[in-house]
């Protein structure tokens, strides 16, 4: 699908999902922090607004997750998320080595983007982990906290709601950290703004 050096990597459905997902995640992070540290004046949202924003964004994110899930299941985009265990440690170390040393020595990326390989190994497994482990856990725990009556009363002498909420908070925090890293790593394209443009236009150069 390439035209010259350009590759069409991000189909419309994926870009729509990515946009919705990004907006929801940002809304959830801001409202989530506002709820966790409620009562402190320096946070953006008051408690009731934070509850409303968190609930709405959570529902939209959950629905959009299914768009991603089924999109990957039924389109060729799913091939970029296939796990290959053999030689994984070497590939990951190679990519880390590039980010830490190689790129500053002017070395070429060990896993350049191509039609067959959209993500480098670090990217790929970070996305797999976030999208297929953390996101489902976040959605399930979030759904449980929205309907707390379905949560088990006690788990090893700890309130089931407490357990679920703490788990939800920890995973949410790691998604926040992932977002920071994701946004930074995205600036490592040909030019700092190149990858941001790609996810809007669909074309990678």
């Amino acid at each position: 699908m390439g035209t010259g050096e350009k590759l069409y990597l991000y189909p419309v459905w994926l870009r729509i999902w990515h946009g919705i997902n990004a907006l929801c995640i940002i809304a959830l992070i801001i409202s989530g922090i506002s709820l966790h540290y409620s009562g402190r004046t320096f946070f953006l949202l008051d408690f009731q607004s934070a509850i409303t924003v968190h609930n709405i964004a959570g529902f939209v994110l959950s629905i959009s997750y299914f768009l991603f899930f089924f999109g990957n299941l039924f389109t060729k985009n799913g091939k970029y998320y296939r796990v290959k265990i053999k030689g994984l440690d070497k590939r990951l170390l190679k990519q880390i080595n590039y980010y830490v040393f190689g790129m500053f020595k002017g070395e070429e990326s060990p896993f350049p983007v191509s039609e067959k390989r959209k993500f480098n190994p670090l990217q790929k497994y970070a996305y797999i982990f976030i999208m297929y482990v953390f996101m489902p856990l976040l959605i399930i725990t979030g759904f449980a906290l929205f309907f707390p009556e379905i949560i088990i009363e006690q788990i090893f002498q700890i309130s089931g709601i407490m357990f679920t909420a703490v788990l939800h908070g920890i995973i949410g925090f790691f998604v926040f950290v992932f977002l920071l890293v994701h946004l930074y790593v995205a600036s490592m394209g040909k030019s700092p703004g190149e990858n941001y443009k790609s996810i809007i236009t669909g074309w990678h150069s």
């Binding site: 966790h36 009556e149 309130s159 709601i161």
Partner: protein, 318 residues
């Protein structure tokens, strides 16, 4: 067969010795009263018809002996509070009009009960909407049953039991038309509709007491008795849902709960700064785990630091 008899005897000892023990807590003198007042029916001699008649007991006058035996007044004689004339049977109908003993008659101004602060409670109660609207007609017994009262909040180590016992006092009128109309002519109670603004209403009703929002926290009293008008009740979520949660000074204040949390609380060990908040409940914004917050802070700043250092190197090596 011998084995069966042995088991039967054992069963008898275990269960009936317990019953006797329970029965023993109620004074023997009360058994005459309880003979009728625990029964669905009573028998009296009707002077008009000149025969014995069996009648149905008014359900309001039937006592639950189990609850009675567990109550704080279980060792009292009935006539400690009720008129001595009730010892005559059939009772004189006019006795119903005789003013009942009130709690303060025994508990007020007495050093024995000083720690319960009955006089301060009465002062607070006199400021409440209940007293404001209904005066002396609104007696302590409207909420606290003299027969069955147990200080659940100070003895129970279950938060849920404390909440249930407390809210059942409010709901005994506010969710019971017959009792509510003893003091009000309002035809529709609408407890659920009035609280529709409250997110997760059912959860709030089950997990916190009505008085959390409907009273002001009193430092000197374990339970504030100044029940405010509904317009004055707090609607500010952050009063509970924040680091300095009001619940720490009210619901989570009981030492019995704190002791339980200190001993058994898994997360209490982690939540050193908020040990007043029980593991049993999670309160958004109030249940903080300081060590976890510290770990969050370390990871967050390490990430930002890593990004900053990497950016600097990218700029320098460009």
């Amino acid at each position: 067969m011998r084995g069966f008899i042995f088991v039967l005897l054992l069963f008898n000892i275990v269960f009936f010795s317990g019953t006797n023990k329970l029965k023993g807590q109620i004074p023997e003198q009360n058994q005459t009263c309880l003979k009728c007042h625990t029964s669905q029916t009573f028998t009296l001699y009707n002077d008009w018809t000149e025969r014995e008649e069996k009648r149905l007991m008014n359900p309001l006058y039937i006592l639950d002996t189990l609850q009675l035996a567990m109550g704080v007044h279980s060792s009292f004689n009935c006539i400690d509070c009720h008129s001595m004339d009730y010892e005559t049977y059939p009772h004189n109908g006019e006795l119903k009009l005789e003013p009942m003993m009130t709690c303060i008659d025994c508990h007020g101004g007495d050093e024995t009960y000083a720690s319960w602060k009955f006089d301060e409670i009465q002062e607070e109660f006199h400021k409440s909407v209940h007293y404001e609207l209904y005066g002396d007609q609104f007696s302590c017994s409207k909420c606290h049953s003299q027969h069955y009262y147990r200080p659940v909040a100070t003895v129970s180590s279950s938060l849920q039991e404390i909440v249930r016992a407390d809210n059942s006092m409010c709901l005994s009128c506010h969710d019971n038309m017959a009792r509510y109309q003893l003091v009000s002519d309002t035809a529709n109670l609408q407890v659920v509709q009035i609280h529709e603004w409250l997110p997760n209403q059912e959860l709030h009703f089950n997990r916190v007491r009505c008085i959390e929002c409907h009273t002001e926290v009193q430092d000197s009293l374990l339970v504030s008795h100044n029940i405010m008008r509904k317009e004055e009740a707090t609607r500010n979520c952050v009063e509970c849902h924040s680091e300095n949660s009001m619940l720490q000074a009210s619901l989570y204040r009981y030492q019995n709960l704190q002791a339980r949390t200190d001993q058994n609380g898994f997360l209490a060990a982690l939540s050193a700064g908020n040990s007043d908040l029980s593991d049993e409940y999670y309160v958004i914004g109030a249940s903080r785990i300081p060590y976890l917050n510290l770990i969050y802070a370390i990871i967050f700043f390490a990430t930002l630091g890593g990004i900053a250092i990497h950016t600097i190197f990218r700029i320098l090596k460009k």
